[in-house]
């Protein structure tokens, strides 16, 4: 077969090898492998948004926060390069919808940010911790998954839809590059110049100002986590593209997929696992194997019922907030921002504000127990 769509065929290993794997199978297995990588790297480098912000703002130690900046800059660079030169189209993803709720995006982010501090880690971190034997994270994950389902499709769903309708705004321009090049998708210079400046600033801040150059392995791990985002876009956007049954265009995110994974466990005879569910499975397995190999697997639980209540509340807030804001610290913070969509900036601002409220100000959480 003659290949007219060069980047797509180049990026499709099984079309070249001529195996019988369907594109949907290819997408879910690739998701599993991306999840494995995230689990391994996350377990080794302790990549954690909540921990990074806490150590930075409370203990004046920006080391783990710098890793977040590195991951963001690589996610951004990889995604924008793929859009400019790889023929990738991220416009069908949920982050780039032309209408969104101006209220629920930052409000959901706020809830998520506060919740992740209560639970001492966001959804993806909880997966890595659970796989290392931390049973507190099991409570967080179950609460997060069920609360997200309650908000997305359960009793809170009608309320969410009504609120969305009331506060819906439609913008013709929904992302930063469109400001510069007016919607022409192949205007490379106009697209990449602001991205290049932004990435250069971010990298300088992380490596020099936040002094991550002293820990090159952590910087490399964070860069790899960042690159998993464009890899996810590539998998669903190129390998999942099909004239008849296209796979939804998405990348790493950890609220809806955790909820879907719980649902899949209960209903697997009647539903199919998508990209997100296999990513979750991959993270658990990858992190668990790494923890076992590194002899870091250790069972941990709660110190007191109050302690448990706090994590439970954190999980619920993350589930509800993540569902309202359409993503978490990874889903909006890396994947959403990598598309440079304006709603993602709102959601991330909400997450940062929520985290700030929990660390400083009148709503701050008092640390009673060392965890």
């Amino acid at each position: 077969m003659v290949c007219r769509d060069y980047p797509r065929c180049l990026g499709h290993p099984f079309r070249l090898l001529n195996t019988t794997m369907t594109h949907t199978q290819l997408v879910v297995w690739s998701g599993f492998i991306l999840g494995l990588l995230f689990g391994v790297v996350g377990q080794r480098t302790h990549y954690c948004t909540a921990g990074g912000l806490r150590e930075w703002w409370r203990e004046d130690n920006p080391r783990r926060a710098a890793a977040l900046v590195i991951a963001l800059s690589f996610a951004l660079l990889g995604t924008q390069l793929s859009v400019a030169f790889g023929g990738l189209d991220v416009r069908p993803s949920i982050y780039r919808q032309s209408s969104f709720s101006w209220l629920l995006m930052p409000l959901g982010g706020l809830l998520f940010g506060y919740g992740m501090m209560l639970a001492r880690g966001c959804g993806s971190r909880a997966l890595v911790l659970l796989a290392s034997g931390n049973l507190r994270s099991l409570v967080v994950l179950l609460a997060l998954g069920v609360a997200a389902a309650i908000t997305l499709t359960g009793p809170l769903a009608p309320w969410r839809l009504t609120m969305t309708e009331w506060t819906l705004v439609s913008w013709a321009t929904v992302s930063v590059p469109e400001l510069f090049y007016g919607g022409d998708p192949v205007h490379h210079v106009a697209r990449l110049l602001p991205v290049a400046i932004l990435v250069a600033v971010l990298l300088r801040v992380a490596l020099v100002n936040m002094k991550l150059y002293r820990h090159p392995w952590e910087a490399a791990g964070a860069a790899l986590i960042g690159l998993l985002v464009p890899a996810g876009w590539w998998v669903t956007g190129h390998w999942g593209a099909d004239d008849f049954e296209p796979v939804p265009v998405e990348s790493l995110t950890f609220v809806a997929p955790i909820s879907d994974a719980i649902q899949y466990l209960m209903l697997s005879t009647g539903i199919r696992a998508g990209f997100g569910v296999t990513v979750v499975a991959g993270v658990l397995l990858g992190a668990c194997a790494t923890a076992l190999c590194a002899r870091e697997f250790q069972l941990r639980g709660f110190d007191s019922p109050r302690h448990m209540l706090r994590f439970l509340a954190g999980g619920v807030m993350m589930g509800v907030g993540g569902a309202l804001a359409l993503g978490c610290t990874i889903g909006q913070g890396l994947t959403g921002l990598s598309t440079l969509a304006f709603p993602s900036f709102l959601a991330v601002a909400g997450i940062l504000l929520g985290a700030w409220l929990s660390l400083r100000g009148p709503l701050r959480i008092r640390e009673q127990t060392a965890v």
């Binding site: 839809l161 004239d243 049954e245 809806a256």
Partner: protein, 270 residues
């Protein structure tokens, strides 16, 4: 004394409650004993008193879906497809939709396999029913419950563009084996306007749908599908064909305005 009266009042209440409960359980059980589709007039007319063999049509649908505007359904019957013993007609119904009819499919032995997939619209959680009639006049049935939850994302932009309406796509296997059924996928860009929607000014948008699909291999019909308005936008069909010799496959899609689009594909048989 006081306590006995009190007790008897409680027990009387309890008895009333129990009787009520039993009654409602009985009613529900009686309703569940009969298949739900028996209450649908269109199906009654179709069957005309015949009793279909249950669970003979295999329906493949997700048990939970977040997007009722496009649900993939596959209906399949394990049956030989010889000229004197094959499945002739297959009817799909969604009992909870404003109009329950989904599609009517007419197979010929050339189809090789009584199986078809398409995407449908489901208004709410409900039961999807398939009825099939064999060349011998037997009726077969199958049904599946589907739970439709609200969509997980915000309102999506229109999935079709006005300038490529009526454009079709088809994928046939590069080679067929003589007499063996292989699948053919096809799709046409079309809004399948239901006539139930209103435009921004509040005026109802008139119904405009693809209503007939025909597949022929040279001059022999393979499959005919009559589509109703609950077929999802950009109608999608997967069907089978078991050709004995090479030829040209002709697919025609007919809109309710009479406009027709015809696509052909080369069929090579080893």
């Amino acid at each position: 004394m006081q306590s006995i009266i009190h007790f008897s009042r409680v027990s009387r209440l309890l008895a009333t409650f129990l009787v009520g409960l039993l009654h409602s359980v009985h009613t529900v059980a009686a309703q569940q004993g009969r298949p739900a589709w028996e209450r649908v007039e269109a199906i009654q007319t179709l069957l005309n008193g015949a009793v279909p063999r249950p669970e003979a049509v295999r329906l493949d649908l997700p048990s939970v879906t977040q997007d009722g505007s496009s649900v993939l359904v596959t209906a399949e019957i394990d049956s030989p497809m010889t000229p004197d013993n094959h499945v002739e007609e297959l009817y799909l119904f969604a009992l909870g939709n404003p109009s329950p009819e989904l599609a009517e499919i007419r197979f010929t032995p050339l189809a090789g396999r009584a199986s078809v997939s398409t995407r449908i619209r489901l208004d709410r959680s409900q039961t999807v029913v398939a009825l099939a009639r064999t060349s011998g006049g037997d009726w077969l049935s199958g049904s599946r419950d589907v739970r439709v939850t609200v969509s997980g994302c915000l309102s999506r932009d229109a999935t079709y563009q006005a300038d490529d309406v009526m454009q079709t796509r088809v994928r046939v296997p590069p080679r067929f084996k003589a007499g063996q059924a292989s699948d053919i996928r096809t799709l046409i860009n079309h809004p399948m306007e239901t006539g139930l929607r209103k435009d921004a000014a509040g005026q109802p948008i008139p119904e405009q749908i693809i209503e007939l699909f025909q597949a022929r291999l040279d001059d022999a019909p393979v499959l005919t599908v009559r589509l109703h308005r609950a077929i999802a936008a950009n109608p999608y069909l997967v069907f089978h064909m078991a050709p004995e010799q090479s030829g040209e496959l002709t697919l025609s899609w007919e809109e309710d305005t009479g406009e027709t689009t015809v696509t052909t594909a080369e069929i090579r048989v080893d």
